[in-house]
């Protein structure tokens, strides 16, 4: 897929939780096609502490209005700076980058979309894809506490949403792999995005139960396009770039000890 360097215009930037915001950008040149799970690299201006671009999952697109949205957690100087963007501001973005989730060749009829924390971000576009193809996805989200569970009401418009929290403040207490829905239902593919321990737990469940599983990794990146070879993950094919060969991998490709 052709990659673009765009100056996108901020349509809105609003908090959705204490540390997370939803950034909606307009693409005057016309938004290119985006696969669920692809990401963008944001130039961060106005911060002496950020030098490199910041890779951020694409959360949603609107091909009619030419808008693309990002669900971003403030984790450092870069995302902090992005949270200060105001409507009308311009931000330089490379997109769409990487390979997204495999939604077609796996022919899933009963997919589980598992997200941890802000890892739910790319699952929205993926859920929309399934919903638009007549498949109702199941979402299973985990967070430390209820405020880490993001945009639940929006996800509920696409499919059934289950949740766990470490402190039991919402959904079932525990981590996503403890949730009863995994015992009760037979999903045919699991798509997961979130912190590595959560991904490994989900991958372990998938392996044990013979379910296909795709995980989206979040390595630190420099270029975002496979040039610098900094964001590698060791795989059966050797060191692959998460930015170019990922960020989504089938768990069989990975060498995780699970």
């Amino acid at each position: 897929m052709k990659k673009y360097q765009f100056d996108l215009i901020v349509d809105s930037c609003r908090n959705v939780s204490v540390d997370t915001f939803l950034l909606k950008l307009t693409c005057p040149e016309g938004l290119p096609e985006v696969n669920p799970g692809q990401f963008a690299e944001f130039m961060v201006e106005g911060s002496a502490k950020t030098f490199l671009r910041r890779p951020i999952s694409i959360h949603d697109t609107d091909m009619v209005r030419n808008t693309v949205s990002f669900l971003i957690r403030k984790v450092g100087a870069g995302t902090e700076q992005l949270s200060k963007l105001k409507p009308g501001d311009s931000v330089n973005v490379l997109l769409p980058l990487g390979n997204g989730f495999d939604c077609t060749s796996l022919r899933s009829r009963y997919p589980l979309l598992a997200g941890g924390g802000v890892g739910v971000a790319p699952l929205y576009l993926l859920g929309k894809y399934f919903a638009s193809h007549g498949i109702s996805p199941t979402f299973l989200f985990g967070g430390r506490t209820v405020s880490n569970l993001l945009r639940l009401e929006d996800f509920e418009k696409l499919g059934k949403v289950y949740a766990t929290t470490d402190d039991g403040s919402f959904g079932e207490r525990g981590v996503v792999t403890d949730h009863h829905v995994l015992q009760n239902e037979n999903f045919d593919v699991i798509y997961a995005c979130g912190p590595t321990p959560m991904l490994k737990a989900v991958a372990g469940y998938a392996l044990r139960n013979g379910v296909a599983c795709q995980v989206s990794l979040e390595h630190m990146m420099a270029c975002g396009i496979g040039a610098c070879l900094c964001c590698v993950e060791k795989t059966r094919k050797g060191n692959l770039c998460v930015c170019k060969d990922g960020p989504v991998f089938s768990i069989e490709e990975l060498l995780w000890q699970i």
């Binding site: 490199l52 420099a222 496979g226 900094c230």
Partner: protein, 303 residues
């Protein structure tokens, strides 16, 4: 409009702007963002005689106005390059130079002679300054005798333009440049990365799997500029300037200090089309200042 044509030994380029090894893939990665045929040359990533896995993740850390990397020469080896990559890059309409690294003089010679046979590769850049491999690499670049030894050996088997990429991690870079020159190098390029390190205070762990890595980006530009200026005064062969170049002004500063051409590295990660902006900016500068050729600004610093 001023003439941007640039010559480095037998290598003739449409302009002095190249992209640095390890920062521009094989060129094709950037083709969506710019017309890579406009570049003076693309220097493709460090190639060794045998395939290398590189270092474990994490290989990168962001630093003030710069970054550390410890990729460790991940590549599929020269044979793979010759068979699979060369035929592809050859069609990109862009001059391709191969950066050559190794762990022994024999390694370097083997890779260089394999590349010598490729009609479409007019030059190699001998990387005797990679700080991220356990053996060889930078070890060759920090002593004049070993610089001389490896360059002489490669010179025997490589008949086209031979550029030697120097390490800044030395007391006197002009000694290394003179050693490369007397061993028959056609040009020297500098600087490779400065050896650096980053730590996460909270976890008390290094940020790179290899503990140390190579520092690049605007942070190192003042050091690079100084070394280019010193080297320009010390050798007769052309000097290629590298180190934190992000704009036409940066490139021009390196040329004023004595660089005949420049390489853009880390800046490609920030702005994938920066190199064409640099080319256009140099052209505009030359016109504004009434120069007819880019050659007129090489070493034109008034001091």
């Amino acid at each position: 409009m001023a003439d941007l044509k640039t010559t480095i030994g037998g290598l003739v380029m449409s302009n002095p702007v190249m992209t640095a090894s390890g920062t521009f893939g094989y060129g094709v990665e950037y083709a969506d963002f710019m017309d890579i045929s406009r570049l003076g040359a693309v220097i493709v990533k460090g190639t060794t005689n045998k395939a290398r896995e590189g270092n474990p993740y994490p290989r990168m850390a962001e630093t003030p106005s710069g970054m550390l990397n410890a990729v460790g020469l991940q590549n599929k080896g020269v044979d793979y390059f010759v068979e699979h990559i060369y035929p592809m890059v050859h069609t990109l309409g862009c001059q391709t130079i191969v950066n050559v690294s190794g762990s022994s003089i024999d390694d370097y010679m083997e890779t260089a002679s394999a590349l010598n046979r490729l009609e479409g590769i007019p030059a190699i850049e001998l990387n005797i300054s990679c700080p991220n491999v356990k053996e060889g690499g930078m070890a060759f670049g920090v002593k004049a005798e070993s610089v001389f030894a490896v360059v002489s050996a490669v010179r025997k088997v490589y008949l086209k333009t031979l550029i030697v990429k120097l390490s800044p991690n030395v007391t006197d870079i002009t000694e290394m440049a003179r050693a490369a020159e007397s061993a028959g190098a056609d040009a020297v390029s500098l600087i490779n990365t400065l050896l650096g390190m980053a730590i996460d205070a909270e976890s008390r762990k290094p940020l790179l799997s290899t503990v140390t890595g190579g520092l690049s980006g605007p942070a190192v530009k003042p050091v690079a500029l100084r070394m280019v200026w010193q080297t320009y005064k010390a050798v007769r062969i052309p000097v290629i300037g590298i180190g934190g170049i992000c704009s036409a002004s940066d490139a021009i500063e390196f040329m004023l200090a004595g660089a005949s051409a420049i390489e853009i590295g880390t800046a490609n990660f920030i702005d994938p089309s920066v190199s064409v902006k640099v080319i256009d900016g140099i052209s505009a500068y030359l016109d504004r200042h009434g120069y007819s050729s880019v050659k007129q600004i090489i070493g034109a610093l008034e001091c």
